[in-house]
């Protein structure tokens, strides 16, 4: 088995190596990838969407549909993990001996304190990352992940129960769904306003004092919030289920 694996791996590697021979040189400004689509994004982004961070404008608008679906992927993963692992309390009769407990220094004061101190800052920073995604690196994903990570950090530092007190199971689920709904809902609003799906320029009809360009910019912000919510909630959902084996009782 290992030998077959090795042969397959080497064959694939050689195939890829052969493919590389015709690649344009690394970081070549004249490569097709740099000359075909990207100039358009770079030059038109400001004019068409009023977003200086081109990654954000491409992510949120030009290829907004990809992003929406990718949010859906996270949602699907969250639901999948939840479906697989979550156990209803009634059925949970046969307990496994908890073998991890003594290994983990749950009561470490320093860890606790630092986590408690850091978490609010992380959350604040995450909000900044989401909101400032138009102008600097960052956006819905990064912000969402950091938000989620802050909760996970709390769960590691303290206890799962503490996190669950702040973010109940239902809240997590609803937030996760809400996030994707915000994104696709904005898309559907555009359809209802008789433009194409995710064509944020349609939003200028309902947002006060916005022209088509600014409508796009606002639309991107809206979907970023959706992305952040969905990513945050679903990562927390996955973590909680993974770490507690779906019992929601005790984390790591």
């Amino acid at each position: 088995m290992k030998l077959i694996g090795l042969i397959v791996v080497i064959a694939t590697g050689l195939l890829l190596l052969w493919g590389v021979t015709d690649f344009p040189d690394w970081a070549d400004p004249q490569s097709p990838a740099s000359t075909h689509l990207s100039p358009h994004f770079l030059t038109e982004s400001i004019e068409e969407t009023a977003v200086p961070n081109v990654v954000t404008s491409v992510l949120g608008d030009y290829r907004g549909f990809d992003t929406m679906l990718e949010t859906t992927v996270v949602f699907a993963a969250g639901i999948a993990v939840y479906t697989l692992l979550r156990r209803s309390r009634r059925k949970d009769l046969r307990e496994k001996p908890e073998m991890i407990e003594e290994e983990l220094p749950h009561q470490a004061l320093i860890v606790k304190t630092i986590c408690r101190l850091m978490a609010p800052f992380m959350q604040l920073y995450a909000l900044y990352v989401i909101a400032h995604g138009h102008h600097s690196p960052g956006g819905g994903f990064q912000g969402g992940v950091i938000l989620g990570a802050s909760f996970i950090l709390l769960a590691i530092g303290f206890d799962l129960k503490m996190v669950l007190k702040r973010m109940r199971e239902k809240t997590t689920l609803v937030l996760g769904i809400l996030g994707v709904l915000i994104f696709s809902g904005i898309g559907m609003v555009c359809v209802l306003l008789e433009k194409n799906f995710l064509d944020y320029s349609a939003l200028s009809a309902i947002l006060p004092a916005t022209d088509i360009i600014m409508a796009r910019s606002h639309g991107i912000l809206g979907v970023e919030i959706g992305v952040a919510l969905a990513v945050m909630a679903n990562l927390v959902l996955i973590y909680v289920n993974l770490s507690s084996d779906g019992k929601y009782e005790r984390g790591l």
Binding site: V55, G139, I146, I238, Y239, L242, S243, D245, L252
Partner: protein, 81 residues
């Protein structure tokens, strides 16, 4: 973009990748994988993909590693290979 720097990180990335799949303890494999992700994100940031690097720092080095650790805790650290 300094290619020497680039190369060093690349070599480190490769080493951590190999180390991670060869670790005899799943927990250390997970931690080494975290290092691998972190180096990766450094590499990408250095290549100008700041957004990707940013995300990888949060997702790859952070959340993925924690997922691994959570799973290893819930199952076993033992591995035969």
């Amino acid at each position: 973009m300094i290619w020497q720097f680039d190369l060093i990180i690349l070599i480190l990335v490769a080493i951590t990748a190999i180390a991670s799949i060869n670790a005899k303890d799943l927990m250390s494999a997970a931690i080494i994988f975290g290092t691998f992700s972190f180096l990766m994100c450094l590499l990408w940031a250095e290549m100008g993909a700041v957004d990707v690097g940013f995300t990888e720092a949060a997702v790859g080095a952070g959340v993925s590693t924690i997922f691994f650790i959570a799973a290893v805790f819930r199952t076993t650290r033992r591995t035969k290979d």
